[in-house]
């Protein structure tokens, strides 16, 4: 009998600490499945983010590092430059990647570091109580924008992926929807940003379906 479904080797058999309805568990699993499919579990090094997913390494079963707030891409750069034979990826939310780590994101992309970034953009600071993030949409209500984000008061959302795509030598900073993210884990691709919008399970499941992961 063929086994058609099971626990990925890259995922530990433990319950996650995430709240009901959170998408982190699903994206952790998607990553674990891709890592397994590519057969790179013993080669991959992940950088866990700040925020709820800081202990992603308790769920994945491959080498991982933590990073200070916003510094995932600096840590990843240090690792990748010392270990070019490994596949290095970061897993970062928008508070991490677009706010406190915006500078790291811009420079890592512009340098053309050979890294993969999984950008979990839920347009809000989820862990700390739903405050406005740089990616919060116009009109979106949050704990710090109870009337909705206004252009006059808060400015426009930062379009990270679109911004990176404009970089000179744009082929160095590839930005991708998740349907192509398998390619970016292969270690052959350039810096990439699988851009997940929304953390509701339904939405991620939809992306999951579309991406055929």
């Amino acid at each position: 009998m063929n086994k058609i479904f099971g626990l990925p080797e890259s995922l530990r058999e433990v319950s996650t600490h995430y709240c009901a309805g959170c998408g982190h568990g699903i994206t952790h699993r998607l990553i674990a499945e891709v890592v397994d499919e590519l057969g790179i579990r013993e080669k991959v090094i992940g950088i866990a983010p700040v925020g709820c997913a800081v202990i992603a390494y308790d769920y994945w079963r491959f080498d991982c590092s933590e990073a200070a707030h916003g510094r995932a891409l600096a840590v990843a750069t240090g690792i990748k430059r010392m270990r070019p034979q490994n596949i290095v990826f970061t897993y970062q939310g928008d508070g991490d990647l677009a706010a406190i780590g915006g500078n790291e994101t811009i420079h890592a992309a512009n340098r053309g570091e050979n890294l993969t970034v999984v950008f979990i953009n839920n347009a809000i600071y989820g862990m700390t109580g739903g405050q406005m993030a740089p990616t919060t949409l116009i009109g979106q209500k949050s704990a710090t924008t109870p009337e909705g984000r206004s252009v006059e008061l808060h400015g426009y959302p930062l379009k990270i992926s679109e911004m990176l795509a404009l970089f000179q030598g744009g082929d160095k900073a590839g930005v991708s929807e998740p349907d192509r993210w398998r390619r970016f884990f292969s270690g052959r691709g350039p810096f990439s940003l699988p851009y997940l919008l929304g953390d509701e399970p339904a939405r991620i499941a939809a992306l999951d379906k579309r991406s055929n992961v």
């Binding site: 579990r41 079963r61 991982c64 200070a68 010392m82």
Partner: protein, 287 residues
């Protein structure tokens, strides 16, 4: 970047001058928390704030008390010559690897701008290779390694803290370093580190020519502070004069070590002001 490079087992170094080092403190705390080896060079300029780019020793507290958050310790080496800058770099990487702890080389603008002869051939140093089974290299044939300072489960962080405290105690027992100059018969002992110690040494020799029984203790490790250099010389008739390019930072460690058993005086300038031999000699004459 240093955190990441070090986590792979590579020997990693970063350097800057005071404000840049302040900026790096978050990362240094993470490196210390994750028990990663690294070397950090701080060539001190004057502060606070942007201050100026003249030499100073006003980052002593920052270097020896942790600098970043969370109650960690750096091993701090204070070279006083270009030769020592070279020699201590070998020691710094070895100490970092041996204890899995960040090491700081604390110099100042005088030393940073100095040109003087350097003998590379005479050095006895050899690069040691410490095994690093904890390094992130890909988990081939082993359980995954994690580089982290985060401990969420109750009691885990305290356990990690206590393990580090044990390490710090061991470092204190084993790694104190200092230089002594004419202290055996000295009635007045100057205490200075780094370039300041070279100026103080000049003053000691001039005072000796005048028949004054003056000596110098030069702490080489600022943390661990070389207590052993002082404990055998704590007599009521011995006087200490701490000289710094600050308004009294290492002074506090000297006071804690002397613990009231000898008189401790201080002379210091900062903000780019450097105490001169003449000023030190003048101060000694008032003791």
């Amino acid at each position: 970047m240093v955190f990441g490079a070090s986590a792979t087992g590579a020997r990693a170094l970063t350097s800057s001058s005071s404000p840049g080092i302040s900026l790096k403190q978050e990362g240094i705390s993470y490196i210390a928390g994750a028990d990663l080896p690294a070397v950090i060079v701080n060539i001190q300029r004057a502060g606070p704030g942007l201050g100026n780019i003249w030499p100073a020793q006003s980052d002593y507290f920052q270097a020896t008390r942790g600098g970043g958050h969370g109650g960690y310790r750096l091993i701090v080496l204070a070279p006083a010559s270009v030769q020592e800058c070279y020699d201590f770099m070998f020691d710094a990487f070895d100490l970092a690897d041996k204890y899995r702890n960040p090491v700081m080389i604390l110099g100042d603008g005088l030393l940073g701008q100095m040109m003087e002869p350097l003998e590379k051939e005479n050095t006895k140093h050899k690069v040691k290779n410490y095994p690093k089974p904890w390094a992130l290299t890909g988990c081939k044939g082993r359980e995954p390694n994690i580089a982290k300072s985060f401990y969420m489960i109750e009691g885990d962080l305290e356990e990690s803290n206590l393990r580090q405290q044990k390490k710090y105690k061991l470092i204190q027992q084993k790694e104190e370093r200092w230089e002594e100059c004419l202290v055996d018969d000295a009635k007045i002992i100057l205490v200075a580190y780094g370039s300041m110690a070279r100026i103080a040494k000049g003053a000691v020799h001039k005072l000796r020519e005048k028949g004054k029984k003056v000596g110098l203790i030069r702490p080489i490790t600022l943390w661990p502070f070389p207590k052993k250099a002082f404990t055998k010389r704590r007599a009521p008739n011995t006087k200490y004069l701490v000289v710094e390019m600050s308004y009294g930072q290492m002074l506090e460690d000297v006071l804690l070590t002397i613990n009231g058993k000898s008189k401790v005086e201080f002379y210091g300038r900062s903000g780019g002001g450097v105490p001169t031999e003449e000023e030190i000699i003048k101060k000694v004459s008032t003791l």
